[in-house]
Amino acid sequence: MLNTVEPVGTPEAVTAAAPILEVVEATKSFDGVYAVNGCSFSVRPGTITGLIGPNGAGKTTVFNLITGFLPLTSGQVLFEGTGITGLAPHSVVRRGIVRTFQIPREFKSMTVLENLMLVPHGQIGERPWGTWFFSKRVAQDEDRIYQKAVEVMRIVQLERLRDEFASNLSGGQKKLLELARTLMADPKMILLDEPGAGVNPTLAKQLMKNVESLRADRGITFLVIEHDMDLVTQHCDPVIVMSEGRRLMEGTVEEVKSDERVLEAYLGGQAVGRQTGTRN
């Protein structure tokens, strides 16, 4: 039940396989203002796909549309070939897509361990009667989830902070915690919203290294919104560029960097040079 990723993740399969995620003509309007307007793209399995674009291009809105946090005005989202349009956020998670937030949303009054143990789906103890009548099975469940949480903490190197309240973590550690939390859900695909923002470069590197190894070891697909072009250059392939609510182009980092339209989009938007420099 847990690690259900099939050998799709092997390099040979990558190019041949059907896209794991397809966004078809996604549109979202807020009171007539289009945040996303006919945006279409697809993500191949086993890639770390970058999603870049000037501020206000609609990247985070696309994340919200995929994960069910916002209802689509029109359009479709397909995951592994089946429609997930209009599913509630928790149902999307159960299909295997998990997201993080631009500003980490850790559960402040809970410890790192509890933050992680919360996540696994279908715990017997998640029903009140389960805790009344099946306490032995709940205890076994908790042991198992605890082991899993320990393993995940080891991957993201948060073991030492196991019993620390999440509110006491640094910005970067919170990002790591969010990544760890997604792992607890056994995802097939993780959407990272600006993993590098507000994190010191060392920690950002560690985080992206984790991402690389998770892709390699478990075949998890990543879709990453990132402004830091260094991180994008080092880790993302391919890169999708969004502008004004739609996909502008897609290609390797080199292709994107040399594309006239991309340059224009960034120049057209106000925040120009900042986007390409290192942000802290």
Partner: protein
């Protein structure tokens, strides 16, 4: 820090002193009268403590603002009352009910000394649970602001129905002549004590159930969604389902408490369920005791209800009528001020909630759960590296 910890025992002692000394003084040293008074207080306190635990599951665990406790209170009380009250015999008394005699599924098992009361309590709990479920369906995602109004509305509506509807529950005059459980089996002078023991057992069961429910993965999810619904949904939890569960569970407990209120009072009128007594008092008990903590709920019920009741004794001291007649209302203001001041100065209440959630985690970790040892690689459920 230390002073704060003293506050709880001090208030409990103060309440107890007021409960014992004031009536003792007023009655001129009538010890048995005072004893009866304290026992009567004990019964109502136990009923209300159960009620407040119900509210705590809604408000304290899940952050669900039920401002219409009186509605649940009324529904549970009347349902239980209709189960056990004898059929109407007088043409001026009209109500449906008198189910007790009909309630005879297994002739050998039937005893009107206790079975109808069990059935009444179950029915009261079920009815309140259903009402909670309906409100959850009605209110989009149980958003607290809509829910606040919907619950206030339901409480007012139910009271209006009970008062206005002809032939339902006898309107203004209400239900009278409700029997109490095992009434005929226990000597009259011992009956109140019997009720105290019975209610203490019920309270203990409810308390253990509520504690176990919250110190579990279920409580963990509730804690998370209380803090951040969005992130909880992103972690794959059906936020609405969990909130609905907490809402219904709390409502069922309220129904159980309400049924015992009926059995104790032996008579009900719609005015028993006005929002002050029916809702606000329970809120004050929970907030003062500490939202999120079941111990706090019990302590809060004791302190608030104790001071509320005992302060009525003050009206019988000699003083100008202009003042004594106002004492009951001064209590309203003090109650409100107490409530608001607690929220401003000490929102965690007398007994703050535990910071840790699952008792199983503590056990696992406490057993020396290995920090650095990775999971067994071939445990099927463990994460594969």
């Amino acid at each position: 820090m230390k002073r704060e910890r003293l506050m709880m025992p001090l208030l409990v002692i103060l309440t107890t002193a007021a409960l014992v000394l004031l009536p003792l003084d007023r009655s001129g040293g009538d010890i048995s009268g005072t004893f009866d008074y304290v026992v009567q207080f004990g019964i109502t306190f136990l009923i209300f403590a159960i009620m407040v635990i119900g509210l705590n599951i809604q408000l304290g665990y899940a952050g669900i603002s039920n401002f219409g406790v009186a509605g649940f209170f009324l529904l549970g009380s009347y349902i239980a009352g209709l189960f056990v009250v004898p059929p109407a015999t007088n043409q001026f008394v009209t109500y449906v009910g008198g189910f007790a005699k009909l309630f005879n599924p297994l002739p050998g098992l039937y005893t009107d000394q206790w079975l109808p009361f069990v059935a009444g309590t179950i029915a009261a709990g079920a009815a309140c649970g259903i009402l909670g479920g309906l409100l959850a369906l009605l209110t989009p995602r149980l958003r607290f602001d809509y829910l606040a109004i919907a619950t206030i509305g339901v409480a007012e509506l139910l009271r209006a129905v009970a008062t206005v509807q002809v032939g339902l529950v006898n309107g203004d005059r209400g239900l009278i002549g409700i029997p109490s459980p095992m009434q005929k089996l226990i000597p009259t002078d011992m009956y109140q004590i019997f009720l105290v023991v019975l209610l203490a057992v019920v309270l203990a069961v409810v308390y253990v159930a509520a504690e176990r429910a919250v110190r579990s993965p279920w409580g963990r999810v509730l804690r998370a969604l209380r803090e951040d619904e969005t992130a909880t949904a992103a972690a794959g939890k059906n936020v609405f389902a969990f909130k609905t569960q907490a809402f219904i569970l709390g409502a069922v407990i309220m129904g159980v408490a309400a049924s015992f209120f009926t059995y104790y009072r032996r008579g009900l009128t719609p005015t028993d369920f006005e929002p002050l007594q029916g809702t606000f008092l329970f809120w004050v008990m929970l907030i003062v005791g500490g939202a999120g903590s079941n111990k706090g709920a019990i302590v809060g019920a004791y302190v608030v209800w104790g001071l509320w009741i005992a302060s009525l004794q003050l009206t019988s001291y000699p003083m100008p009528e202009e003042i004594s007649s106002r004492i009951p209302f001064v209590r309203f203001v003090l109650l409100g001020v107490f409530f608001v001041a607690t929220l401003l100065v000490r929102p965690q209440g007398l007994v703050p909630e535990d910071r840790r959630v699952s008792r199983w985690v503590q056990r696992t970790v406490g057993r020396g759960g290995p920090l650095s040892t990775p999971a067994e690689p071939d445990t099927p459920d463990a994460v594969r590296p």
